[in-house]
Symmetry: C2
Subunit: 280 residues, 2 copies
């Protein structure tokens, strides 16, 4: 390999290929089973890797980077290298094999899984929490996490059959928010609801069929209470038996002819309505 | 072709293939140039076709349907047939050639283009309008149209280099809302801004860098004014020279560590904030 005097972080060995054992091991993390087993996941792209490095909740274990991406991200690699994080140059094809995007960005970090226990995510006196129940689209789950972060939520909980927060599309859609606020997950939605109640949160179903709307709840002062918003799947919403377990249901008012909002935009309106009333 | 006694709408000739001239002609409508030339576009899926049939702003000219989809949508085809709309059975492959979705739904309508003139879209005394400026992602444009409809907006305007509202992904993301409220478009953004001012609307840039946020504007009573919200591209927001032409700029407050919201969720928060204050 030729010398690159202007880049002292550039690894000097031959770049790893998609058959190099460490790349093969990392590739297992592109699948949920592999992530669950290792307790680690892949974070792709310079911005996301930067967020992972700044994260207090866990560690970045290693970085894979193509020659081109290394030249573009010298400061980032410098700071990773100073922290003793192993950096390996990989071929374009190896980077592709670790990527879930159409246009691989050439820089991928292996990072600790983000979820903590429910108790830890809900510690203190949380005021605003987003619970995803049965959300199967990873882009939606990531976007709601980003919105929850923006609205100042204290935690996001992935409940029931919701997608893995480490799914590449979810990570990308969250644009770093997975690292900004506590994330928890549990297959057992009842356990999630119990933990939220234990933390003093009112469980509110976001439900297009609810009798009361957000504006009415706001006028009653209900939105100012500590609230865990529970959001269901884009396709089916929340099952009736789940809605029945919660403290109340609210809908976003529909003033025009639209029959509904999509999950992320509905969540944005709900979470910001609570944030506003809680801060007034 | 065999008889289907329970479906009197079922065409009796051989199904059209992807090489049948009428299918070839319709396929031109999968491209913007073809749509602009014909002044027509394609609407796919039973729900969207139902909305197109109910639409007062233009006509459905013909329907292409696979045998399977015809069996699933007898009532819909009955009502189209009663209105004299030409219905042609097509092969699965022909339906695929007219589809922009991964899983073609087997029912496609040829429909008049939706945009009307700026003057017509803004007639009367509009209170809430969404203007898209340089929005290139069709899914985002369609989702914002759906949100604008839900928030009771009076019109949506596709300005400057914004994607074609008839793009298949935009139509799908709008889930019928393209047919619910007046749509206009103009490459000339200055013409759009002038028409909005002429209609008595205050032009407000949704801008992450704005000094004032939504909550402050609401407290001042500004959001209760007749407003045209102007939204820029997801990647770059609104150019400075466009922001400078508008009456004011507002940002969605970010209470957590997120650096921004995506276009559709930001638009949802802005449009609902105005809708709420205008109805209070």
């Amino acid at each position: 390999m030729s010398q690159h005097p202007r880049d002292s972080n550039r690894p000097e060995a031959d770049p790893f290929t998609e058959r190099t054992p460490r790349v093969v091991a990392a590739r297992h993390l592109t699948r949920r089973q592999g992530r669950d087993k290792a307790g680690r996941f892949l974070v792709e792209g310079a911005q996301a890797v930067r967020e992972a490095l700044a994260w207090q909740g866990g560690e970045v274990h290693e970085l894979f980077v193509t020659a081109t991406a290394a030249e573009r991200n010298t400061a980032l690699l410098q700071s990773a290298s100073e922290r003793g994080i192993r950096i390996s140059e990989v071929t374009d094809k190896a980077a592709e094999s670790l990527s879930e995007t159409v246009t691989p960005q050439g820089i991928v970090a292996v990072c600790d899984a983000v979820p903590r226990s429910l108790e830890s995510a809900l510690q203190g006196t949380p005021r605003l929490v987003a619970v995803l129940h049965g959300v199967s689209d990873p882009g939606n789950a990531g976007t709601v996490t980003r919105v929850a972060d923006a609205a100042g939520a204290d935690a996001v909980i992935f409940a029931g059959d919701t997608v893995d927060p480490h799914n590449g599309k979810c990570v990308r859609a969250s644009t770093g928010s997975l690292f900004h606020l506590p994330i928890a997950r549990s297959r057992d939605a009842d356990e999630v609801f119990a933990a939220c109640r234990q933390a003093g949160l009112r469980l509110v179903a976001a439900d297009g069929y609810a009798k009361q709307d957000l504006v009415e709840a706001s006028a009653n002062g209900d939105l100012a209470q500590p609230t865990a918003w529970v959001f269901g799947s884009e396709a089916h919403g929340l099952p009736d038996d789940v809605v029945a377990k919660l403290d109340t249901s609210l809908r976003v008012p529909l003033y025009g002819a639209a029959e509904s909002l999509n999950l992320a935009t509905a969540a944005a309106v709900c979470l910001y309505a609570s944030a506003r009333d809680q801060r007034n």
